[in-house]
């Protein structure tokens, strides 16, 4: 190594002395050499990880089948090593992005030396190859977590879970190495890169993909547990408890990822839409819906040992929809604004992976599911039945989204019709399910297990219902149009929110120290209350933005005030400014309402010269009642600037609601009973006296 290093570096191989070292290390050639080494090591680490994953897939599975403890024990260290190797590989790729190593093809097409550091780093996963590496990194991370914290699992189940998880890693690492290797070199490295797509140079979008992948891939854990349980032939309450934290975590990540993406679309795309029913959005929404169903049905398995085979099926399908999502994004089969790096070969490869895992798991399911006998008995009216209804609505609404997403493809294949399925269809076909879900939620979630009485569940909600109807009626009376969306949304939001409060109060019972008991409720109860409240709040926000958005487009002259929806606005100036890797046209607009100053807003439009792409940066003034959303347009021929104003009711609540849903999931995750399941923390918990 020394000779080569010096040949590249200081060219003084024979007379290298200690005080020469700083010169050698400081030289460009040395740095280039190290960078190259790191990249090659990263590539090598990925190949090694592939080998380790193969071992982790095969050996523990055989060990579990034959009952050989030594073979089963291979799974745990293998999972750790596999994760560390992929992490090293991912670190090497990140390093290539940070140092702008333009000998890598993927860096050239997605980075630029002038780019801010944050986006150099996020550029690592802002492209097909890097994001697939992130994908397998997360598969391995979840596997390693199960290995490290899964001490409580029976040895054979743990071996099988880790083996199935490794098989997913093997499939996707093969995909990376064969079709989309991020470590591919340029024959002639260019001087600079082509820059990351400017739309992705945004803090919201920098972290949107990692969260989404944590969610997608988190569902692989539920899948591995389901397949392992099918092979094992046993599903019991303990299984329900083990699988639920993984599902919860995946769902929380999906919620955050989807919300970040939608928030980004809202302020970046320039017309204030937050959801477009685009195939790729649907691809993330379908697993979210099924994960929500799964984490509810896992409760029934855990508490009542019923719904077992359905829960297994859900776990398989939820991950199946994650794979479908990957397929949609990567194959370009369904054209979408998000589709990146469309390539039929990659599409076929992923289709193969999908066929293998779904086909295999469903065949296994059909062979083994019959043997899973339900134990719990419950009445027609009971919490169990309510959760069945919840699953029914979530699963069928997921099916509707699926049919709508795939229909253009199916219609062209089978009926020779080239058609589109856009937002109007989804709004009409999907919304009713959510309305039903919202209606049933407060009633179902307050029912008793086993045998409940509808009357007893409804009775405490009677005032809540009246007030919610009154709020809906008020919204109806106050709005100008005849739209039902707004009032129904307000009614549902109020109904769910107040229902949550009533449920919490019921749980604390009567008598003194009620407040103390309220705060002593288990994490799962708080999680449920928070997440349900979040859903209600999101419904309010969505209804508000759909029903009561007003819009104005006009040409504004500098310093000539104009009035829009009660706001007096003045365009003060429009200036050109230079950002790190873009030029910006920034407008300054003063907003006054009823003589009172509201805000000075500065909408921008940017132009990224390297990528030759413009973007908009809307200026938004938010409060609880509405968002004031300003966009600056082009300079007009006759003087003045195009200015677009939206007033969007309740919009902030959409994301506050999403944040609450995620927070609710986190509360549930920290419930005491999962800590026991996780096992590794048990000792830390031990000194705490029982309450």
């Amino acid at each position: 190594m020394t000779t080569q290093l010096c040949a590249n570096g200081a060219r003084r191989a024979k007379h290298l002395r200690l005080f020469d070292l700083p010169i050698v290390i400081g030289s460009t050639a040395f740095r280039a050499y190290i960078a190259r080494m790191i990249t090659e090591l990263g590539h090598f680490a990925l190949l090694l990880a592939f080998g380790v994953a193969l071992v982790q897939m095969i050996v523990p599975m055989i060990g579990a089948a034959k009952g050989w403890p030594g073979w089963m024990a291979v799974a745990e260290p293998a999972a750790g090593v596999q994760f560390l190797l992929i992490a090293a590989s991912f670190g090497a790729l990140t390093w290539a992005f940070i140092t702008s190593d333009f000998s890598l093809a993927v860096v050239v097409s997605n980075s630029h030396s002038m780019k801010p550091m944050l986006y150099k780093i996020s550029g690592t996963w802002g492209n097909h190859e890097g994001s697939m590496l992130l994908w397998v990194l997360i598969v391995a991370l979840f596997g390693a977590m199960a290995a490290w914290f899964g001490g409580q699992l029976p040895a054979s189940l743990r071996a099988r879970v880790l083996s199935v998880q490794a098989s997913i890693g093997v499939a996707f690492m093969a995909f990376i190495l064969l079709t989309s290797n991020p470590f591919d070199r340029m024959v002639v490295p260019p001087f600079d890169g082509q820059d990351l797509n400017p739309l992705l140079q945004d803090p919201g979008l920098a972290f949107h993909p990692p969260f989404l992948y944590l969610g997608y891939v988190g569902l692989s854990m539920a899948f591995s547990f389901a397949v392992a349980a099918l092979i094992e032939g046993r599903v019991d309450a303990a299984w329900g408890r083990w699988v639920r934290p993984w599902t919860l975590a995946a769902w929380v990540f999906l919620t955050i990822g989807i919300a970040l993406g939608s928030w980004w679309a809202y302020y970046e795309l320039g017309w204030g839409g937050f959801w477009f029913w685009d195939p790729v959005e649907n691809a993330s929404f379908m697993p979210w819906l099924l994960a929500a169903a799964l984490l509810h049905s896992a409760i029934v398995v855990e508490k009542r040992e019923a719904l077992k085979s359905w829960t297994i099926l859900l776990a398989i399908l939820a991950f199946g929809f994650s794979l479908i999502g990957t397929f949609i994004v990567r194959s370009g089969l369904l054209t979408s604004v998000h589709a990146f790096a469309n390539d039929p070969d990659r599409g076929i490869f992923i289709l193969g992976i999908m066929a293998f895992f779904m086909g295999g798991a469903l065949i296994l399911y059909s062979l083994r599911a019959g043997a899973m006998e339900a134990k719990g008995v419950f009445g027609l009216v009971s919490r169990e039945s309510a959760l069945v209804l919840n699953n029914l609505l979530l699963a069928v609404s997921c099916f509707v989204v699926f049919v709508g997403t795939m229909w253009p493809l199916l219609a062209e294949m089978f009926f020779d019709r080239k058609l589109s399925v856009g937002p109007p269809f989804f709004d009409a076909a999907f919304t009713p399910f959510m309305v039903l879900l919202g209606l049933a939620l407060p009633v179902g979630s307050s029912m008793a297990w086993k045998r409940a009485s509808l009357k007893r569940a409804l009775y405490p909600l009677r005032y809540v219902f009246v007030v919610a109807v009154a709020i809906g009626g008020l919204a109806w009376a106050m709005q100008t149009g005849r739209s039902l969306i707004g009032p129904v949304g307000m009614f549902l939001g109020a109904w769910i929110l107040m229902g949550v409060v009533v449920d919490l109060l019921q749980r604390t019972g009567r008598g003194p120290n009620r407040l103390r008991r309220l705060f002593r409720l288990p994490g799962a109860d708080w999680g449920k209350a928070t997440a349900h409240a979040g859903l209600g709040i999101t419904m309010v926000g969505i209804a508000g933005i759909y029903a009561w958005t007003v819009e104005d487009i006009r040409v504004a002259q500098i310093d000539v005030p104009f009035e829009v929806f009660g706001y007096e606005m003045t365009l003060r100036s429009v200036t050109k400014e230079n950002g790190p890797n873009y030029v910006s046209t920034t407008a300054v607009i003063d907003v006054v309402r009823d003589g009172e100053f509201v805000a000075t807003l500065a909408p921008e439009k940017r132009f990224y010269p390297v990528a030759q792409m413009p973007t908009t940066e809307a200026a938004i003034h938010q409060n609880a009642k509405r968002d004031l959303y300003l966009v600056i347009g082009d300079e007009q021929v006759g003087g003045g600037w195009a200015v677009r104003t939206y007033v969007k009711a309740m919009t902030t609540w959409i994301w506050i609601g999403c944040a609450l849903m995620a927070l609710g999931g986190i509360f549930s995750l920290f419930d005491r009973r999962f800590r026991v399941a996780v096992g590794a923390r048990k000792r830390a918990d031990a000194p705490v006296p029982a309450e």
């Binding site: 097409s109 797509n197 739309l199 795309l269 320039g270 017309w271 839409g273 477009f276 685009d278 195939p279 054209t335 979408s336 604004v337 589709a339 990146f340 339900a374 134990k375 719990g376 008995v377 419950f378 009445g379 027609l380 169990e384 039945s385 069945v388 699953n391 029914l392 699963a395 069928v396 099916f399 509707v400 049919v403 229909w407 219609a411 009926f415 019709r417 080239k418 058609l419 589109s420 399925v421 856009g422 937002p423 109007p424 269809f425 999907f430 399910f433 487009i553 006009r554 040409v555 439009k605 792409m613 413009p614 973007t615 908009t616 966009v631 347009g633 082009d634 007009q636 195009a642 677009r644």
Partner: protein
């Protein structure tokens, strides 16, 4: 990759959608035009309505739509006019005719089927005997008798 960039360029134009010079002076007519253009697809973009898009083709379609409305077309006439020229693909809200009934009825039919299955399951559960109530099986009873008689 190039196509991706192209698509995104069309998507993220500086001022999305309707420009001030397009707006009709009659607010009622303009409102109708806005509503209709939300349901018409921009053909060169991916999954965007002409109301949201800044592509020049979308602008042409918006102007064409407004022309039809100014000439006194009803909503359906104006949309049919555009569909006749650009095909069914232009409709973001798929028609209910022909095979599309599958699309529109997939949800409700699935809800009925799944609801029926769910109902059967719940009824089955409510009528099933709880295993703990089921008492001892014959074999177990025999075993117990054996033990007791010893």
């Amino acid at each position: 990759m190039k196509r991706f960039v192209l698509i995104l360029m069309l998507l993220a134009s500086p001022l999305a959608a309707v420009e001030p010079d397009e707006v009709l002076s009659d607010p009622v007519l303009e409102q109708r035009a806005r509503e209709l253009s939300k349901g018409l697809r921009c053909l060169v973009c991916r999954n965007e309505s002409i109301d949201e898009s800044n592509a020049s083709l979308a602008k042409d379609l918006r102007l064409l739509l407004r022309e039809r409305l100014v000439e006194g077309d009803s909503d359906t006439e104006a949309v049919d006019f555009i569909v006749a020229r650009y095909g069914e693909y232009v409709l973001l809200n798929p028609t209910r005719g022909g095979a599309n009934w599958i699309l529109w009825w997939a949800g409700p039919i699935m809800l009925l089927l799944a609801g029926g299955a769910g109902m059967l399951y719940v009824r089955g559960r409510s009528r099933a005997n709880a295993p703990q109530d089921a008492g001892l099986s014959d074999e177990e009873a025999q075993k117990l008798r054996d033990i007791l008689s010893k």
